[in-house]
């Protein structure tokens, strides 16, 4: 197996923004009639450039922190790395199994029980039913929810839901881990557990890309940092230069 790596070359991503209007067929037809059959034209659709010419090269052992204001393109970059968004220009190449923890509620069905949700989440994460059976006890123990796992998730408190989602999401082995805004889940006890598991995952993962606003978190998990501003990326610098980067 080749070692994990991420390479982005001149990565540009543009969003077409379809206004609330543009989703209506009537509007599209009306426009087509009004301008004489210009349905194919990009009428009424504005492009927003979310990322522009981002170059990125990461190897196993790199733990990159992404900083930047809201809307600077952090999440877009993570989604592009996860394979959900396709580049408009340039390319992304990722070697290794990717796991994205962008949204803890991914694939969580509130009316299903805790066990069923773990199963569902792990299936989406790429585990087979047999793998899940083998790991279920371990995952269940990690959540610390005990008998509550047989109850529907909608009866859980927010903290309990967080525990469940975190445990299920991190059960999948990966080489490249993408995380967005590390949300503090659960109480102090669980945070300690989560922290330990995350460190283990980071150790095993090879590459971590973490987007966050919190400097202490960056210093804890990352060894490199990159700043995004209006979709344009800065140079990747060592984490020790974080304060400099924050000020600039």
């Amino acid at each position: 197996m080749t070692a994990a790596s991420i390479t982005c070359t001149d990565l540009t991503i543009r969003f077409p923004v379809y206004g609330a209007d543009a989703k209506s067929l009537k509007k599209a037809l009306a426009r087509a009639v009004a301008v004489g059959g210009a349905l194919g034209r990009h009428a009424g659709v504005t492009d927003v450039t979310a990322l522009e010419g981002v170059n990125l090269k990461l190897q196993a052992g790199d733990r990159l922190g992404l900083i930047g204001h809201n809307g600077s393109g952090k999440t877009t970059l993570l989604r592009a790395l996860s394979g959900a968004y396709e580049p408009d220009d340039g390319s992304i190449e990722v070697h290794g199994r990717i796991a994205s923890l962008l949204d803890l509620s991914l694939g969580i069905d509130p009316s299903a029980t805790g066990y069923e949700n773990i199963r569902l989440r792990c299936r989406i994460g790429g585990l087979s039913s047999r793998d899940i059976d083998a790991r279920m006890d371990e995952i269940a123990e990690f959540t610390g929810l005990g008998p509550f796992l047989s109850m529907p998730v909608k009866t859980y408190s927010a903290g309990m839901q967080g525990r469940l989602a975190f445990a299920a999401a991190t059960a999948v082995e990966c080489d490249v881990l993408l995380m967005d805004e590390w949300i503090a889940v659960g109480d102090a006890d669980f945070q300690k557990l989560a922290h330990k598991r995350l460190l283990k995952l980071v150790e095993r993962a090879g590459i971590l890309v973490l987007a966050t606003h919190e400097a202490p978190l960056l210093k804890l998990y990352c060894n490199k940092v990159m700043k995004l501003e209006g979709g344009v990326a800065s140079e990747i610098v060592d984490i020790r230069k974080l304060d400099q980067l924050l000020k600039s």
């Binding site: 197996m1 989703k23 209506s24 067929l25 580049p87 199994r97 299903a112 999948v172 080489d175």
Partner: protein
Amino acid sequence: METATHMLRTGQRGALFQFQMALRDLRNSFQRIGLAWSLAWHDVTSRYRGSVLGPFWITLSMGLMVLGIGFLYASLFDLPLNQFLPYVALGIVFFGVMTGTVNEGCDTFVLASGMLSQTSLPMLTFLWRTVFRNLINLAHHLVIVVAMLTFYGYWQTANVPLALVGVLLMLLNASWMSLLAAIASARYRDIPQIVVSVMQFAIFMTPVFWMPSRFGKHQVFLDLNPFYHLLQAVRGPMLGQSVQGHSYVVLVAMAVVGWLVTFTIFARTRRRLVHYL
């Protein structure tokens, strides 16, 4: 989250490249077909969670409908029950698979937006999820069909292998319609309403509840109705009737052309689909 260990995504490189990417999506969706099955199974069980009968509500409600319509129309049209009940049962059940697959196709991508916007799961996985969900429903409905055919003794004349060919043709056609509805509904939110209306119209214009012989001199409208051929290819063999050869020509041609057109649209819009949602 891709289990594959290599992912390469590049910018636009023309139509051929889009086609290759769409084909890869198709291939990946087959490689992870188990995921589509798990999601479909989860959909069915979660819909009936907490109810005493569970998924057997699917069977029960269909049974009531078949009996109700069967007895009513049999007496309205003066038809013998042993002919009409199996006929209506097969009609409603298999037409239901078609309408279900196409109507639910409208939600295929819209409901999956969360997953599509943060993982690299193949998009067609969600199409198969919709198709599988309807197949699971069909399995529950088959109980009624089997009971009817057994009760009225149709098994000696039934041509099951030919009916299975019909089911296959029906699924091939319903799935491209479903995909087309899924793409269009993601882009234009009026499409689901249109699709539902069309399918509702189709169920009354197609001989589901009534005999085609009643159409008299308007027979040509039956031949123009694709749903008639779709239904007849399944129902005919089960009732021991022969299916006209041109029905198969229509069905195969429709499947091929439908898939070609829909797959081209899929290839052209695939990159943008996630932004539509």
